[in-house]
């Protein structure tokens, strides 16, 4: 029975599970890595490492779970607006503190 109707454009069941499952596993892996390395590293290194891993997780969630991957460029701009302003705030604040004497 080949069926004579139009082709089914809906995503297949394997697609529904496949990509999200892979991203979920990567997120759990990064989570385990973060928790593990926090017990090994110390001082400024641990802060840098754990926040970097967290930012990677955020990027994965944004790209795949929030579906920015399939979104037009204008949506990327809107999504990045908050991140850009936040980065600017950090840059200006720490730029100020880092150039103060006795910091």
């Amino acid at each position: 029975m080949s069926g004579g109707g139009s082709a089914d454009s809906r995503p297949s069941r394997s697609w529904i599970w496949g990509e999200p499952l892979l991203v979920w596993l990567i997120l759990l892996g990064l989570f385990a890595l973060n928790a593990g390395m926090a017990h090994v590293l110390s001082g400024k290194t641990v802060a840098l490492f754990t926040v970097s891993v967290a930012v990677t997780q955020v990027a994965l969630i944004g790209t795949f779970f929030m579906r920015l991957k399939r979104s037009p460029g204008t949506l990327w701009l809107a999504a990045l607006a908050g991140a850009v302003f936040l980065f600017t705030a950090f840059l200006l604040t720490f730029g100020d503190y880092a150039t103060r004497p006795n910091w």
């Binding site: 529904i16 110390s42 641990v46 955020v58 607006a81 936040l86």
Partner: protein
Amino acid sequence: MWIFLATEMLFFGGIFLAYAVVRARNMEAFAQAGPHTSLLFGTINTFLLITSSFVLTLALGAEERDDHRLLRSMLVVTFTLGALFLICKGIEYHQDLEEHLVPGDPRFPASMPAAQAFFAFYWVLTGLHAIHLSVGLGVVGHVWLLARRDHRPENFRRALDVSALYWHLIDVFWMVLYALLYLVGRGA
């Protein structure tokens, strides 16, 4: 919706910035205070939220495939995982209060003054996050009620997309909070 998410990012971002400045000036005190947070509850809750985001993404896929039964099931699982998160958070808060981990408490366990600042950030950030998650539960619950109807409203798909974006944002904030609050001062 993405503009709203950007404002939410800046709302939390301001507090993250304040945290970064205070931590940079008080590395030792934060390292002393950090291990007093419950790594067990923080880890369980991180697992719950990551999994809830995964399940909600499956719900979106189910909607695209017109698999209404799978959609409704995934929404119920997402809601349940979110509710479990709040229950764990409540137990953790109870434990924190019993251990006097409140700024200004005379029996606060860490000796360095700035350790109390760490817990000020802890209560504010996790409290705001819990409020956002409670709203998220309401939104997901509402979408589930819509999904159960025989005749779903025309804008159902949009409601589902918006609720998913909001839920994932809550997950995003938790990823950062876990790193900032639960993984501090654990190393040698």
